[in-house]
Subunit: 347 residues, 4 copies
């Protein structure tokens, strides 16, 4: 069971590893201690976001073989490009009854025709279950499962059809949503938040199923799924904690404020906030029309990140937070999963 520490560092551009590595060293760690690099990069967060690919290209050679990268594009509005570095913390911390722990892994490569379908759900489910087992953790102690999963480019769509197979969608932007949905259902299933029948119904669009602890984002820069499981365990002792909730819509400030008050009540200081955001699929927020789904100039995930990022940055008073767009099966429709990582005061 790996007790972890978290270092957050702004980046000067998607290829910036120097700044974060210096922050890592100053905190007493080395690149070989890295479990995961979780970043927000300044692309459009959509199909042709090469800021993610650039970050992956510069970071992958620097991290251990079994560490993972998760780069989520899109720092619309007030958001600051940055990385959150998760490292193995081998120091002894006394006086804590628990600690934040993490495990990372990868699924096998998801074939083009599998993307967005049961096979992807199953691959993610199996990997998440294996990581939870590795952490010797009850599923209720898991606070966040973060997944980076593939999408379909038009080359992949074509090659799939050339082989006589039908991709889940021909629309490359829509493929991102399908991939996030499948990954999130895999998480929900692994955490016992739904049944196999519900997964099937959700994949077919007949039912809304979601996990409040799932956070999935898609990208063209990988072919498998990168997975990070984060939870608190009595097998570890450190001052880091996590709390999670689900925003019920994109203006649900109350849920955010409550979570922050809970952290404050425990004497905690926020280290990082990870949130999912989306345009509510019915085109309304509290009965009023929004225009995110009729704006052909600007994808709805960009709108959602900008707006929810603005709200969260204002409430947390920090712009270097992880807000990711497209919350299929990640919290209630129109809302999104929300995780706060915080540090208790020294005892």
């Amino acid at each position: 069971v790996t007790s972890i520490d978290i270092i957050k560092a702004p980046t000067s551009d998607p290829s910036d590893t120097a700044g974060p590595l210096q922050a890592l060293r100053q905190a007493g760690y080395r690149a070989s201690d890295l479990l995961a690099v979780v970043g927000k990069t300044e692309g459009n967060g959509c199909v042709n976001d090469f800021s993610r690919g650039l970050s992956a290209a510069v970071w992958e050679p620097l991290i251990p073989d079994d560490a993972i990268t998760v780069f989520s594009g899109g720092t619309e509005g007030v958001l600051t490009p940055h990385v959150t570095l998760l490292v193995a913390d081998r120091a002894e911390h006394h006086g804590y009854d628990r600690g934040l722990v993490a495990a990372t892994g990868r699924t096998r490569v998801i074939a083009v025709e599998e993307l967005g379908r049961a096979a992807q759900v199953e691959a993610v489910r199996a990997s998440v279950e294996s990581l939870v087992a590795e952490l010797a953790m009850r599923t209720e102690d898991v606070h966040l499962v973060l997944v980076k999963c593939p999408l379909l480019t038009s080359t992949q769509v074509s090659s799939c059809r050339d082989r006589g197979l039908e991709p889940v969608t021909d629309d490359t932007y829509e493929s991102m949503a399908r991939s996030r949905l499948a990954s999130s259902l895999g998480i929900a299933r692994a955490l016992d938040e739904c049944t196999d029948a519900q997964v099937e119904a959700a994949l077919e669009g007949r039912q809304q199923v979601w996990s409040r602890r799932a956070s999935a984002s898609s990208g063209a820069e990988l072919a498998d799924c990168h997975i990070l499981v984060l939870g608190t365990s009595e097998a570890a002792s450190n001052p880091l904690r996590a709390a999670h909730a689900s925003m019920r819509d994109a203006i649900d400030a109350d849920t955010v404020v409550q979570l922050l008050e809970q952290v404050r009540a425990e004497g905690g200081t926020v280290v990082q906030v990870l949130a999912k955001a989306e345009a509510s699929p019915d085109g309304r927020i509290r009965g009023r029309r929004h225009t995110m789904l009729t704006d052909s100039d600007l994808q709805s995930t960009r709108h959602a990140r900008a707006a929810v990022g603005g709200l969260l940055a204002g409430l947390v008073q920090d712009t270097a937070i992880y807000v990711s767009g497209g919350a299929e099966a990640q919290g209630a429709p129109g809302g999104g999963s929300l995780t706060v990582l915080y540090r208790l005061s020294p005892r």
Copy 2:
């Protein structure tokens, strides 16, 4: 002195007058009572935003000759397209020591070569002073001066150069900022918030000068400036009030919360919030990098509206608010002017 009432109504699209007119009738008013139609429309809020022009085209024939329209484009993120209807309230309201009052007017046509320059400042200043005088009001009782002003299209830029004159800029998007700056400096000057020397320095970019009560937006749909002055006056008696402040940056939740608490302390209910937002010109928010000024796919005013709109909608719990992008001389750099209109409980 015109005592006013305010009706807010969502619109189904930029050409929707039916919904708002029904709301007007239900409130006991007629189109002939209108002083101003202040709307948020769902275009890009930039040079080629024809949602503003469409709204202006359908509303102008319906309103009195001396009434004005102000359509601000851009309902990014969670914002709801809507109109705020300001009507003359001829009913007697007892028991109020003051009331919300308004006056509207227009400047002369701003010539292409005048746009963004001292001549525009002067035209706005003169009109605002005249409206304040009409309201028999001290400048300190003015809570908001809302201006809709022209911009430069490439046709106008060309015709200006063809006449041997130099426009303030050749960049059509930049012309919106120059027009907002000149209008806002005219407001600041009329409200005695700055000197002539400061206006000159601000136009040349040598000094930062701003008004916390100015809100200016630009559009291609008009050639003069439409002006609305809003204040509270002892010459009127009604339950509407206004309060204003200036957000110091785009995540300044504290200022918003304080203003809302002040309203609540007076037993008021928020009727409308009007805010200006912008990308901080130095590329940073509280020392951290934002990417609004390096995103060539999405203009910074769209980013700013989405983010600040998300924060305000969350804090006010209302998505039908007026958030406008580009806050040159309208509140501190990177922040923006903020006005809350509210209604006191019946006495």
Copy 3:
């Protein structure tokens, strides 16, 4: 049978009727002579293109009740916003064996749940057949059927689902393609270019069927379909002619050059070119990758209009041409229908 004349006029913005009306008068016609106003407006040509709605709002009150408007958004690249005015030509022209004729009409309102489905195909087919009959014309003498048809907004998608019905798609941009497809299949069926079974297969995506004479564009500014049938008839005598072809892909200059050479061989002068353009659905042009379907910042119809508009404007040496994006069932996949209207030299 209505013998027609064609006047083409640039517009200074989407609300400009003054310029075109002056051109109309100079040609000896009045607004009451108008059969159709076919315009290219400078919006994004997508769901939230309000330049179309603005043009429709200013033109509709000026034209006869049975005249129609067709505004196609998107003048990317070198294209010039303009209108093509089709008027009834009551003058006698001697010495011509034929003449260009036109008829216009409207379908009933297409219900939200009908859009993109057999009901829309049938409504368009019936109207086109009726217009062809009105012109007493063989289907082979029809050179162009131009249709403007509705799309689905998120409000319509929601209201449809609220009534327990399923729209053809939840994606508002995709609804434009579905509407163009259904309209074009209705045209193909009316012109005997396909069978009912082929229509059904095409709607289900199982077969590619197309008309070389169909040109359909979608918009939120109407609820029915506006239809213009254009052909040459021996029942009329005027110097206008039409020729049509189909570009086989977006760089098929040969087909364009051949059509222009045919016009020149007849001693004709090009009056207008109407073309459809699209990103080839398999992501390739002559085996090479294009990126129009993976660009999440810019819809593929905008890419296609810009590129094909650039080619055509260069070949015709005119930027005020009608190039419309999204060529489902309008010419070969990746290509598009192409019509040239030309005027023979005086005899």
Copy 4:
């Protein structure tokens, strides 16, 4: 004097080096033979185009120290992402009186406050002159000088102002134009196409000066200027040739056709076309309005690449061509420089 060969290869994405390297090997060359990698990548071609940075990151480690990369973003419309590989050709080719030769180099780092100003002009001029001297070539035998130059990010703008210095512009997108202008004036000066006084006047916007052989593009991925000089020399013997011209506007098909006919008349086969394109600064093409400068959703360089790319691809019947946006001092205003590289038939 380096006799060169040219291999053109499509790329599957900006990080694809495998495909091009295989094409290189098949042609009998190795990465160590590379003089320059000139690519079109599929980003927006603007400030936040990280596809260029990704390509540079993967190619730089593979090429010789003195070789250069030039990645131009933006494959709008029909254009295919690809690389043009220039290699030293050490084979003996008999029977040719001349051959295509090339030299590459870099300027020193251009300081932020120097960008777009005389210092950048001078740095480029000096490097180009040195490369032309290295090739022992008359300036009239130079057919193309290709430059990749830096731009200003908002971080650089801020740091410049923090040091009390004024950048040439605060607008990051505008900085790309200023950098292209300065580089191109440096080329024009080095090739004796203008005087120092004209350079000064052009930098101040008082005079139009241009080179028909300059092609400059800007990017955030470098701090110096990468320079490629291409010409024909009697000191070499190979079947490659170059011809150049300048399109007088964006629909100038005639100039393109003439250049292609000249190639055909010599029995040549086109290997590559390199063109610059821009929105004409006066907002008109042949007297008619275009909308590239008033479209706030889509930068004018993207419009221009799409349109001119569509025209050229149609005329050359090849989509893997190098079309770059922003033609300041690179050909006549509104037009752009045009170079065709071609291969003579074996003798």
